[in-house]
Symmetry: C2
Subunit: 428 residues, 2 copies
């Protein structure tokens, strides 16, 4: 006889939390579009009305983080001020205004026997968002999941716990105001790793886990979870400057893809330059980027083509590095095939862009590169749910199942088959 | 210092097999539609040309299975004859003739800045099919995965190993004939559990696992795999005979959903009858089904309404049973809400059908039941990729991520974002 392993209190607590989310998810789905939208609008109002309380909680988080020696960039991500809070509220209003994806009949056709068959969009059910310091993810994720008819479990970073608790209170008031169960949006009561592990085992009551943050957190979630995980580890994005490219436009795009926001996943990390124009373009690129403080690391050929010292010699590791900083790798390649081979070997399936005036090469790049976003003559920075027109973004996926690339609210739904008959029976 | 665990020979062998599949998958994707279609047509020709060899291998499998005491239904699933083999070949021709899903631009729109953004269908990559005794899955799965531009790893049941080996040889000849790598379709060289476990850990080189067979196999795969799994455990399908239903049509549909093929997952297992018509309909239903040897198990009310002995008293377990046999459960419910509550509690998210003449109730059933296939006035037996018009079926999913319901070749693809620009850079 095997004795089932005793569940710990924490495991029982997480199982209850997940079960409550499951029941709340059903209520959210049934409540209908108007109620869900009203809840999100009310969340925006609550964030504005309770701004002082939220900012005070945030100040306590920031003080504690400062005291424990948290660095500048991380502290900046954590910190809220009235302008940032207003931006969060406005983002909620925008989500409220998006078209409701639930109930849409994506496709419908008729069978020879008269059956009318369609695919109708329904909520996924319960989504767990695991994220780090940015408190705006709390309200963004709550709104997006709710809009798509789901319940959500939020697990933010420990350094933002007091802020997130106050934001969750805003959400709670909003839910109560429209008669939705408070379990529709639940903040995990602890940021313990053990609690996270227990949550990731609730595969019967949670349908999808979306981790956002550093590679370490994401790997931990992917390896621990029994629930499907949609994730991207890093963005090693490439721009291939093909020989026929408009070089002035290419300089502007390379600059745009790195300089204004070097720390984001859709920033370019490696620029591939076709040999035919390398002697002219590499020095221009080096001058253009170095003027704004970008460090260039190149293969021997680009080092040689640039003025002495303008391009440092890259190591093998540079080709797969996600710098998240004012650094970019540069490599000279012979042709499109070599560029694609480099991307296939070192890329992260995130975003790649070809700069070209050649019709056939543009078509080949689009077809042959299988990254989640493939572009012609555009900055990699457009790889973003808002910029691509999804209305919002809940995350980016570089794995192919269910969603690939930026995910909007449609990716928080699935479709069921609906079949309208007149008494049909199956022959054979 | 941690010493990495030594891999066993079997683990290394499976890792090599998966890596070969990954490379072959790229070749299949690049080969283009005409080559993939030619390979599938050639598979059909090879199956016809090598029929004698395949049937001889199958006879050896059947002999061994008989000797080890395999039961009638399982033996029947294993057994091939010239007619069944011709059916398999014809199924291959049909898959060859399906429209190619790869490259389709599912949607395309234009952004205010002039960027043209679309979602273009691409292959998933590498798919592992884990299945039991039916040898036709070998050729079906090979053709469907190939058609959608993927490589596939096949792991059939040990009892069909010789048959599958000969079928794999047919596939191999076909691949060679069109210049595709033989690793595009690989049969696992062993049906060892340990080899399966090793394969299910190759998460870097396999994108999706589809297990088909008994609940035990599927649970094992789901619990062991590090690769995403799309599955359904069982089909506990419901028909709700609402008070306004055309009773003659309802009898025909209930009969069709159980009698001709009781052993399939889309057969009805529980019939819910609305109280208002139960006194009339339950006895008619019992008579109609018992005439063809169906055993009825009902709640106390239906037992009482039917002639003595016509309906046996059901136990609690009957409501969640997948009989796969000439047995059906019957329950009297008060109204639509009670029917939906029963389905929510005992159903398997497979297929449910309401029989009604009431417009509003039909609409509510479609919207409120969240099973993967929801029907009005049709037999549950239509829950099938071919019957619904997908052209073919690789499996059925009752989990909501990526695919929900019958899966055709589109579900063996994903979409990437394609972006056509004219030099756009992102502001802000």
């Amino acid at each position: 006889m095997t004795i089932p392993q005793q569940k710990t209190d924490l495991e029982l607590q997480m199982a209850r939390l997940a079960k409550a989310a499951r029941a709340a998810g059903r209520a959210v789905a049934k409540a209908g579009s108007a109620v869900r939208t009203a809840a999100i609008r009310s969340m925006a109002e609550q964030v504005r009305a309770r701004a002082a309380v939220v900012l005070a909680a945030n100040a306590r988080d920031v003080d504690a983080a400062t005291a424990s020696g948290t660095s500048g960039a991380m502290l900046d991500r954590l910190k809220l001020d009235p302008a940032r809070l207003e931006k969060m509220a406005r983002a909620l209003d925008e989500v409220a205004g998006l078209p409701d994806p639930v109930g849409e009949v994506v496709k419908m056709w008729r069978r020879p026997n008269g059956l009318q068959v369609g695919r109708q969009r329904i909520p996924l059910g319960v989504i767990a968002m695991i994220f780090e310091s940015r408190p705006n993810v709390t309200t963004d994720a709550a709104a997006l999941c709710l809009k798509a008819g789901n319940a959500v479990i939020l697990r933010g970073g420990s350094e933002a716990f007091q802020t997130n608790t106050e934001l969750a209170r805003c959400v709670d008031f909003a839910l109560a105001g429209v008669g939705l169960p408070s379990a529709a949006v639940q903040l995990m009561p602890t940021t313990d790793r053990a609690a996270l592990v227990a949550l990731l085992r609730c595969e019967d009551d949670v349908d999808l886990v979306i981790p956002r943050g550093g590679e370490g957190l994401i790997r931990f979630v992917a390896e621990t979870s029994r629930i499907p995980v949609i994730k991207h580890y890093k963005g090693v994005c490439h721009i291939f400057v093909e020989a026929s490219a408009d070089q002035a436009a290419a300089l502007a795009i390379c600059h745009n893809a790195k300089v204004p926001k070097p720390g984001v996943c859709n920033a370019v990390e490696t620029i591939l330059v076709q040999r035919a124009i390398a002697a002219e373009f590499v020095p221009r690129l080096a001058a253009h980027l170095r003027a704004d403080g970008v460090e260039l690391r190149g293969d021997a050929e680009s080092v040689r083509l640039a003025p002495a010292g303008a391009v440092k010699l890259a190591s093998e590791d540079d080709w797969s590095a996600e710098y998240l900083d004012l650094i970019v790798a540069v490599r000279v390649v012979g042709d499109l095939d070599e560029a694609i081979a480099h991307i296939e070997r070192y890329g992260s399936l995130h975003t790649e862009s070809i700069l070209t005036r050649d019709y056939a090469l543009a078509r080949r790049f689009i077809d042959e590169v299988d990254s989640s976003t493939v572009m012609v003559n555009a900055s990699t920075r457009f790889a973003d749910g808002n910029e691509l027109g999804l209305g919002a973004e809940i995350g980016i996926s570089t794995t192919k199942l269910h969603a690939y690339g930026p995910m909007g609210i449609e990716e928080l739904t699935t479709t069921k088959f609906v079949v309208y008959g007149d008494g049909q029976i199956r022959r054979g």
